[in-house]
Amino acid sequence: MPIQTMKGALRALLLIAIFFSGAWSQASGLIDDFLFYLPDVQFLMGQHLWLTAVSGGLAIATAIPLGIVLSRPSMARWAESLMQVLNVGTTIPTLAVLALSMSFLGIGTVPAVFGLFVATLLPITRNTYAGLKGVSPALMEAAAGIGMSPIQRLFKVELPNALYVIFAGIRTALTINVGTVPLAFLIGAGGLGELIFTGIALYDTVMMLSGAIPTALLAIIVDALIATIAFLVVPRGVNPSRA
């Protein structure tokens, strides 16, 4: 009973605090300050999402086939060493990747998409590979033994059973991608980074937050979106979140 009462009291306090902070920001003109950047936020968010969609889409389209190819038995000899290379690649900070891609491709959208693509590629490839390799040998033997061709085995057994792990990779990769896009501003590709970095440079907190808060929200939304897709797409029998 006392715990219930305390929870109720806390909730009431929280509501009051939110109300007063809202009232205060209205009174002090803070909301108006933020709204001043609204058109910028809208435009830059579009750019931001476009960068994510293109680099992420390309990464998914490349990483999954790459993971599949690496997991084939005929590739077993090279797969592990190649995965090591990719693992090392993952440890390079994205900022460094962007810097490197700028030195080769110049400034603008192309080097930014390329840098983001590389950073996103690795987790998805790794998870696709690990997911496919993690399919139990007994399952593979059963699939072969009842007369499935290698392609049928891949699409009917391996991929469905690895799908949850693959989606986990996509989720991680795209969430990181959204959070990394602001850095693309540094090599002239725009995005919400424009508000964040300019805000920092001008010591303009409102400007900085107008970029930072939408970026954070985008990351959360993308994460939730992919989790939802995984929930719906991964077959129930191999979907831990639907068990």
Binding site: A143, I146, G147, M148, K156, V157
Partner: protein, 386 residues
């Protein structure tokens, strides 16, 4: 029918070549269950898996129903061979229905046909179709999963089945149930089955014939009874265990050794007559009393018959137990031990007395086979000069 002709597998390992299966030649007749038996690493699983090319043979040929499979397309060959593995290997991403219908779909059956087939298979393995078809493998118990595994292998009605320790991972109680169910199914289906096991009791129970393997070689291939009665060498003998005579009890039915030479009395007979009959038939302790329908009604013991006057109906004792013609000797032996008796009356399905089974007849039956076999072997050795 499955024929293996000098089937050989040599594995190249870092330690050198290992011969996993060495010129295995054998034949499994249509409708028979052949058990490949042996300790681990003896080549039984390798031999089995070479039939559906999970393992590629180094040399030798496999014939199915007389047809050489060497030139066949691997996928096509496998779709016509039912395959059950110990780890079950149901596809967790598919429903039970999808699992069962996977081979019919590969073979291009139409939808109505394979849906119907799934229900048929469920009925065959005694699982309620409506309750199970839409569920996923992870929602089923191990025993239920392996039943589905068997159903999946049988769905396209292949003439031949390969089973790799199919019931090895199931607890003993469920294993016995599922073995019985499977044998019952096999009576109707008459598949030609190769079945890997390392469990001698399972082999005796399930097999029409048993092939014993050791270090890649087929050591002995014979019926369970022959195997137990006449193991070919010391290895087979030790693998079968010292209680192999007891294991044979499972294989012999009362029908085979029942003696219809049974003396009986009726309730209306006097005890004097009973005593005379006991002596006539050479019984030591007692004689069976039957009623008008020739059903066993009681026993008259010798001591009562000797010391008392009167009619049998007033002085009988209850019968310890009766056995049916279809019971196996293991049950009979168990009943004899439990009731401390050396004979038991046998009844037919209507409960009428049709003979008796004695401890002597049992030991003589088991022993005669042993003696005959040992004689054969001695003769054979003599002729080959060994």
């Amino acid at each position: 029918m499955i024929q293996l002709d000098s089937l050989t597998k040599v594995f190249d390992t870092p330690k050198g070549a290992v011969v996993a299966a060495d010129h295995i030649s054998m034949e499994v007749s249509a409708g028979e269950i052949c058990i490949l038996l042996g300790p681990s690493g003896c080549g039984k699983t390798t031999t089995l898996k070479m039939i559906n090319r999970i393992i590629r043979p180094t040399s030798g040929k496999v014939y199915i129903d007389g047809e050489d499979t060497t030139g066949m397309n691997t996928q096509e060959l496998r779709r016509n061979i039912g395959y059950v593995i110990q780890q079950i290997g149901l596809f967790p991403n598919m429903t039970i229905e999808e699992n069962i219908t996977v081979v019919p779909k590969l073979l291009g059956w139409d939808r109505a046909h394979y849906k119907e087939r799934a229900r048929e298979m469920m009925a065959m393995i005694a699982l309620e179709p409506d309750a199970f078809l839409k569920r996923y493998p992870s929602e089923l118990s191990g025993g239920q999963q392996q039943r589905i595994g068997v159903a999946r292998a049988l769905a396209a009605d292949p003439p031949v089945m390969l089973m790799d320790e199919p019931f090895g991972a199931i607890d003993p109680i469920n294993r016995a149930v599922i073995q019985d169910e499977f044998l019952k199914m096999q009576q109707e289906l008459n598949k030609t089955i190769m079945f890997v096991s390392h469990d001698i009791d399972e082999a005796i129970k399930m097999g029409d014939r048993i092939a014993v393997f050791r270090e890649g070689k087929l050591v002995q291939y014979s019926t369970p009874d022959d195997l137990l009665a006449a193991p070919k060498n010391a290895f087979v003998e030790s693998f079968l265990g010292e209680d192999r005579a007891l294991k044979r009890l499972n294989l012999v039915k009362v029908r085979e050794i029942v003696s219809d030479d049974i003396g009986t009395v009726t309730p209306g007979d006097t005890l004097e007559k009973a005593l005379a009959k006991i002596d006539d038939f050479g019984y030591q302790n007692s004689i069976l009393m039957i009623n008008d329908q020739r059903q066993p009604a009681g026993i008259i013991t010798r001591s009562v018959a000797r010391t008392t006057k009167g009619y049998c109906r007033d002085h009988f004792q209850n019968i310890p137990a009766t056995v049916n013609l279809e019971d196996d000797l293991r049950k009979v032996a168990s009943l004899m031990f439990a009731h401390d008796t050396t004979w038991l009356p046998c009844v037919d399905d209507e409960g009428r007395v049709c003979g008796q089974i004695t401890q002597r007849a049992m030991t003589r039956h088991l022993g005669s086979r042993f003696r005959a076999r040992e004689g054969d072997i001695r003769e054979a050795n003599a002729t080959t000069g060994e």
